[in-house]
Symmetry: C2
Subunit: 650 residues, 2 copies
């Protein structure tokens, strides 16, 4: 097989997948859909030789005739020469180099008085003598009992007291001249554990990490376990993105053990590089920290992300009846995962409720505080899945609906993640149908991100570019027919980051269809949740929007397209990244950690795939804003007013 550019010559046996053959030759392609042949991002051109295309989705007949093939769906039958378009190969590098737009950390520090997970005790110890040659460990324990009344710290009842501590103990005690600081972990149950001994002359606060492993981004907060103060924060794209954009793509990618390990290694590499970065930043600030100080790690994320992080096969999450390996994870130590922390650090993965209601939701619900109020609130986290929790201090019910990747960038021809240059807001002139837009960071546009899609779709329906069924009905210079049906041009190529030689930024009817499915799934979930407890959508008193994406949604536009229920804007609250915030609360406060378990066990999981009402509600919601317009009176009103205005001006 010959690969251009680069001219590698690789001999591959017949039957090998083109993607795998290219990977062997060192050419890595990005697989946003995990290798399902759905996204069309791995298109290459077979110039010579024989191949068999398992799927030709996303390819026109003309393209196939010219040798175009999806690398993830094409089997090599003979020696072949393959041209890899630079953008296909470069995609990964470009995306991994680009950070998600930096968000200010949003830390909620609680007022609880509970003891921290790890407490440090300063000790002056009488050195041993011939008349008292008590062993080192027992001597230390004796002092902890005498000076701090820590009497249960006997080694036989301390399953976590690490061998590493014991190995270092004799030298540390003597080097520190018997003046040390003992770090003692107080687990949720069982006796305290001695987790570290350091010289008192060089005290180092015990730190903890709160991690949100998102399908798209990984966000880390570093906190002081004693003071609960935020010490650092960092975020990056999840290194697994090259293996699939959404959960299902990742699960499909992970079908072989080696690939499952690859996914685990990728997310661990992302986390470790973020830890390293925080250490470097701290040094640059003149406040150096050591990874050894990180003595606890609290992890939130959806069920698939947690299973991949822990190296647990995620396949049964995708297969009916959709069963996670565990609801509450087992206690593990950082050394088992190779995290760049103290190897004895306890890694606490927060509990999940079901295959599609993960720890991002249990942590997020605690952050949102649903359990603490009498008012019926809805907590909603919109991403490739829309997860929702409805309830109050008496009851909680939750569900997940598969929204697809429409809001995450890869579900649309000109979709992008929320990177600098992403179009995030759009306005369409009702008369000329000409758009204006803003991009993240004010950079030349590279595509449309999720919030931009909502904004754009809202404008298109309000200005009559599309009808209620999502069909592009207007005519004009911005409307044309493309490869995927009719499309609306949001930005001409010369306006974009790629310039005149690149493609225009468009929204196609197929994209709109995906967006409608996404918003319909979420709204249908809300309908099913409320109906299952005998309520109507209107009975929801507050809507708490979580998730990194939620922060960017324009409520007005989201109501216009029927994604969010039509109610007064002041009943909506943005909470930002509720997953990492909930993890930070659980990291810094044991009472909040207990709350996550309580909330998780209190949540009733409504399985929508077993619910006929869901399909009905979904079908009804496939219109803009909804088949039943009375559910969206403010939109009805605005449409009427705009129609009158247009009618007036026509």
């Amino acid at each position: 097989m010959t690969i251009e550019p680069g001219g590698h010559l690789v001999s591959v046996s017949a039957g090998s997948l083109l993607h795998d053959a290219l990977e062997q030759a060192g050419v890595r392609l990005t697989l946003p859909c995990g290798g399902q042949g759905r996204c069309g991002r791995c298109i290459v051109v077979v110039q010579e030789g024989s191949v068999r295309r398992r799927s030709t989705a996303r390819l026109t007949e003309d393209e196939i005739a010219r040798g175009f093939a999806l690398a993830c769906q094409t089997v090599v039958l003979s020696d072949v020469a393959v041209w890899v378009p630079p953008e296909v190969e470069e995609l990964e590098r470009a995306e991994s180099a680009t950070r998600p737009a930096k968000e200010a950390p949003d830390v909620m520090v609680c007022e609880h008085e509970a003891e921290p997970w790890v407490t440090q005790y300063e000790l002056e110890i009488t050195p041993p003598s011939l008349s008292d040659n008590t062993p080192d460990l027992e001597r230390l324990q004796r002092e902890l009992a005498l000076q701090y009344d820590l009497r249960d710290l006997a080694p036989t009842s301390a399953p976590g007291t690490a061998l590493r501590v014991l190995r270092e103990l004799p030298a540390v005690l003597r080097d520190a001249q018997w003046h040390v600081v003992a770090s003692v972990e107080h687990p949720a149950s069982g006796p305290p554990r001695l987790v570290g001994v350091d010289p008192a002359a060089a005290p180092a606060p015990a730190l903890g990490l709160a991690i949100d492993i998102g399908t798209t981004s990984v966000v880390i907060y570093l906190g002081d376990l004693a003071t609960r103060e935020l010490v650092g924060n960092a975020s990056a794209y999840n290194g697994q993105i090259a293996c699939g954009d959404d959960i299902i793509s990742r699960i499909i990618y992970a079908k072989e053990p080696a690939r499952q390990r690859e996914l685990q290694e990728r997310v661990l590499a992302t986390i470790n590089s973020l830890i390293d970065e925080m250490m470097v930043n701290a040094s640059a600030r003149g406040e150096p920290l050591s990874p050894e100080q990180i003595r606890r790690v609290t992890v939130a994320g959806n069920t698939t992300m947690l299973q991949l992080f822990l190296g647990i096969d995620p396949r049964y999450i995708r297969l009916e009846p959709y069963v996670p390996a565990a609801g509450r994870y087992v206690p593990i130590q950082a050394r088992e995962l190779g995290l760049h922390t103290n190897p004895d650090a306890f890694v606490d993965c927060l509990p999940v409720v079901g295959a599609y209601v993960g720890a991002d939701i249990t942590a997020g619900a605690v952050r949102a505080g649903l359990h603490a109020e009498e008012a019926i609130s809805l907590f909603v986290d919109i991403g490739t899945n829309g997860e929702m929790v409805l309830g109050n201090s008496d009851w909680l019910i939750c569900c997940a609906c598969s929204a697809g990747p429409a809001f995450e960038g890869s579900g649309a021809v000109s979709g992008t993640r929320a990177v600098p240059g992403a179009i995030e807001e759009v306005w369409i002139h009702p008369d000329t149908l000409e758009p204006t837009w803003t991009t993240i960071g004010g950079k030349p546009p590279v595509g449309i991100c999720g919030s931009g899609m909502i904004s754009l779709l809202g404008e298109m329906v309000m200005t009559g570019v599309i009808d209620k069924g999502g069909h592009i009905v207007a005519e004009g210079p911005r409307v044309r027919r493309g490869s995927f049906g009719r499309e609306y041009v949001v930005a001409w190529s010369h306006e974009t980051a790629k310039g005149a030689s690149g493609p225009d930024i468009v929204l196609t009817e197929t994209d709109i269809e995906n967006l409608l499915r996404a918003k319909a799934a979420i709204y249908a979930g809300l309908v099913c949740l409320t109906e299952s407890v005998g309520l109507g959508v209107g009975d929801v008193e507050r809507v708490l929007i979580g998730g990194a994406f939620g922060r960017h949604i324009d409520v007005e536009k989201a109501i216009q397209i029927g994604l969010l229920p039509d109610m007064a804007w002041d009943r909506f609250t943005y909470l930002g990244n509720t997953s990492v915030q909930g993890a930070y609360l659980a990291l810094t406060c044991r009472e909040h950690r207990a709350l996550v378990d309580d909330v998780a066990s209190k949540m009733t999981y409504l399985e929508l795939s077993a619910d006929n009402r869901f399909m009905d509600a979904f079908t009804s919601a496939l219109f803009i804003p909804h088949t039943d317009e009375t559910l969206f009176p403010s939109v009805q009103q605005a449409l009427r007013e705009l129609g009158e205005a247009r009618g007036g001006s026509a």
Copy 2:
């Protein structure tokens, strides 16, 4: 540097130790004394070039003139050519190839009714469905609660539930069609832990290992945790022997971290090869076992051996005030050490009392049963150290006295360990002073082992070859002057395994001096122990002899030389390897495990190095049988009778 034979040419910088330079060149020498220059086993001949001898102990002036040097004590000053005598280089290979004489396993199975450490529960589990998609782990736990009332097995309170189990759980449950066997560990404190799930169709009993890590030999018993039956056993020399024969030599060898790691790796390699061997043997018997079945490991051994096994610096054991790192060790998992067992197996190192009273003694004392009787008993383990425990069900007091390597083979010119061909019993004709002897396995003699030394020394004193001070006073063809003073020839070279070209097997006055020091140290320890509780040696009602060496001691001869107290032979009992037996009891019975802790905490440690009475008692015991002959009436009587007989026959 040139090395012969082999003719390696290695350039070593000046200042490098000859031993290290040889090791770099791939020539490994055995260092029985750990590199202290005391044993003379690493003698090489410097043929060319310049060296500096730090120590010339064990070398005559003539030998030095001929280039002889101790590799462990000689610094290379220039390019040198070194001749390594084959026996010096080959020693290690020969010794590691030779197994200790095989002992029949000596297992005490107790009658306690306590639950085993690991119990297996068969479970038929209802598969998940859309109406009940409880996660796998919680589904299993629910069944364990319903079917076996194991209600505390919640993951948050099970710090040992291994990630590995969770990783395998989804596939095992489904492959086994929801019919599985759950292995549940019941720790000494805290809730039970799920440690394994296997298909019910392929049940595999939970096994455990009891290990005695001796300074010389490692002995392993493999048992069924449920039935307590012995499944296999194996033993080998401790791979650390090449780095020193006794504890102090090993500690000296371990002074650099790399060497400490080497010692840990060596003993782990010994243990792992024994486990592998048992697996191979089981397969050969048609009863294949898997290392995965080994779910618990109980380890006994002296304090230094345990610290080296765990990778804990042993240096403070040797330095005043002689402090071990811990009395009770921390709980660890087999994966932390790389044992060839189930990686989640709990490794339970039994408690030590002091730097020189280790887990071999706490385990041995429990096996001996001192704590269970009203009669005052003495438990004694004779090796390079003589450890003793005196007491009964009300009290226990212990001490350790450094006997040196005289009984272990390397403390004498013709000393050897108890390998096939070792002279183990000697009789000397009272008139001709000609010896007859038996060897282990009836092989041609290779040297004299510890029991042979005791036997020989007893004969020598009873036949007047030596006087009460240990000086060789007889004359005759067997007595001559050698490099280390006068010596008695036990076997002429032509009778030995090496043949006429090899050395004669002898006992020198220096050897006798070492033997006297060894036996005096042990007897003095006994005197101090009894006096410290206001008793006399005669108040001891039973003497229980433990340790692998103890099994071979001839009580009559041991009393003759004043090693053991003079009392009726039926008050002595041989128990064999009490360390591994005690470990096996603790492995197979939780009540016995608790007893080891009880006994360890009940033992008062008498530090002899701080006790002036010890030096007095030691000096008094440097005669044969003792300065105070009234302490050994039977020996006095026998000597008188023999003297009369000789007087009569002369």
